[in-house]
């Protein structure tokens, strides 16, 4: 499966910027003023700042550090430190393929036929402290509602499921409750594995907090 779902389409509004990961690769997602979603390498080519900390300006994404602006094609369009100069077309960042299908945002690192589209109703994204067990989306009926569940391997120890309904949910509250219960059960199971290192990784930054403790 070349395409990976990374978010519900409804969770990335116009002008939103968000960070995500596929197999540990950091990605900046953003949606431009025209409604088109984009997925960039989460790193400004200027000085390495994560672009997921940046901000959307119309049809461009600006880096928080020095305000360098990139258009939807990933091309640098403005360098504020040199406001009168126009950046050459060769200054670009790494951009991934990004499409909106079946109420989900999908990202691919390589060319592949786009995922199937279908009418869909947003449900929620579940973020799990356990690895993805599959890369293939699957269909399942939960609480009387037919669902599409699209897995996202985020890191060796963390994943997400992005869930949309393929028909208007019969009982939305029951559906969400069932999904949260599923997540809790899966994580409990993961906790029973000999996976101390997994939990350590699950908490980004905990290692520096431990070192901070040593610092007194």
């Amino acid at each position: 499966m070349a395409w990976t779902a990374v978010a519900l389409a409804a969770d990335l509004g116009v002008g939103d910027v968000a960070g995500t990961r596929i197999d540990g690769e950091e990605i900046a997602l953003w949606r431009d003023a025209g409604g088109t979603p984009h997925a960039f390498e989460d790193r400004c080519p200027h000085r390495g700042m994560r672009l997921s900390f940046g901000f959307a300006r119309g049809d461009r994404l600006a880096c928080l550090y020095h305000g360098w602006q990139f258009d939807g094609a990933g091309r640098c369009r403005a360098i504020p430190a040199h406001p009168d100069l126009s950046p050459p077309a060769t200054i670009t960042l790494r951009r991934h393929r990004c499409v909106e299908r079946a109420g989900l945002l999908w990202v691919a690192f390589a060319e592949a036929p786009p995922p199937a589209d279908a009418p869909a109703w947003p449900v929620l994204s579940l973020f799990l402290d356990r690895p993805a067990t599959t890369r293939e989306p699957w269909r399942e009926r939960i609480a009387g509602t037919p669902l599409l569940l699209a897995p996202q391997p985020r890191s060796p120890t963390q994943s997400a499921w992005h869930v949309v309904a393929l028909a208007p949910p019969a009982d939305a509250a029951a559906l969400r409750a069932a999904l949260h219960a599923r997540r809790r059960a899966l994580e409990r199971f993961a906790d029973e594995q000999p996976a101390a290192s997994e939990r350590r990784h699950a908490m980004a930054g905990s290692s520096h907090l431990r070192s901070a403790r040593e610092a007194g």
Binding site: R47, H66, G67, H82
Partner: protein, 283 residues
């Protein structure tokens, strides 16, 4: 484990504020090694992880030590002995970043309108005018001179905005300073120094010290101004990729505004420093 980077070892590092040390052992970390400080009846004492005593110096209200054999001295700051200076030590902050990234960020002006919006810079006045980089071979220091940047609120006293003039000084790899025209006493220069304690390659503590020419602001106003600025910078250096400072420029695109950044990396490369760089392999 203590780094084997000789260049990093042979420097003095600020590791504590003098007034926070008491008789109780005070553990901290330097260049990958646990060290312990204390103030005993006989005076200040420190030892490394193996229990060997470490040399100590007290200056500017800070306690300095080294794990190696420094050839240089702790930086001389002339403003520190001017009696009418307002001395503002700003306290220590932890940063999950290479101390070298922190120095490089301190040298940078182009980020003012974005990271310190409406304080040290504001759109649309984002231009970085040309400035001069100087390698002072005799003192082994790096300077960036004649820097100018439009600042809407350069200091606690400033309410109208000013074209700020700044000189930057890097006296050693983990210490960085600036001199800027004092907004309320334009014939004098404020002095701000940042002392960094590299704990691990990508973890450090830092303490800003200021010697200001300012008869107007309260001590706390000057302190809070600087602390807010520093926390805004912390967001940046904790989220650069890689966290360590790349000495190889291939992955980045410096332009003229980044001259001081390039000069700093070149100076580190020439010294052979590796701890805290992206090229550091762990030994």
């Amino acid at each position: 484990m203590r780094t084997r980077d000789r260049v990093a070892l042979d420097e003095w590092y600020a590791v504590a504020s003098a007034d926070e040390l008491g008789p109780a052992p005070w553990p901290t970390r330097l260049l990958g090694e646990d060290i312990t400080l204390a103030r005993t009846p006989a005076g200040l004492a420190a030892h490394d992880a193996a229990g060997a005593p470490l040399p100590l110096r007290e200056r500017y209200g800070l306690v300095f030590t080294t794990l190696g054999a420094p050839r240089g001295e702790i930086v001389e700051i002339a403003e520190a002995v001017e009696p009418d200076r307002r001395f503002v030590p700003c306290g220590w902050t932890l940063l999950r970043a290479s101390g070298l990234r922190v120095v490089e960020n301190f040298l940078d002006m182009a980020h003012f309108p974005y990271v310190h919006a409406d304080i040290l810079g504001a759109e649309p006045r984002t231009e970085v005018a040309p400035y001069r980089v100087e390698f002072r071979r005799e003192a082994d220091e790096l300077w960036a001179r004649g820097c100018r940047f439009w600042q809407p609120r350069a200091a606690a006293t400033d309410t109208t905005g000013t074209m700020m003039e700044i000189d930057y000084r890097v006296p050693s790899p983990f210490v960085v300073m600036l001199y800027r025209v004092a907004p309320s006493q334009p014939h004098r220069r404020d002095c701000i120094a940042l002392f960094i304690q590299p704990m691990e390659a990508t973890l450090c503590r830092a303490v800003p010290l200021m010697w200001l020419a300012d008869d107007i602001s309260t001590h706390t106003a000057m302190l809070h101004f600087e602390q807010a600025i520093f926390l805004q910078d912390r967001v940046i250096v904790e989220n650069q990729r890689p966290l360590a400072l790349p000495l190889d420029p291939r992955a980045e695109i410096p332009t003229r505004a980044d001259s001081s950044s390039v000069a700093y990396r070149r100076w580190l490369k020439e010294k052979g420093l590796r701890f805290g760089t992206a090229e550091w392999t762990g030994a």
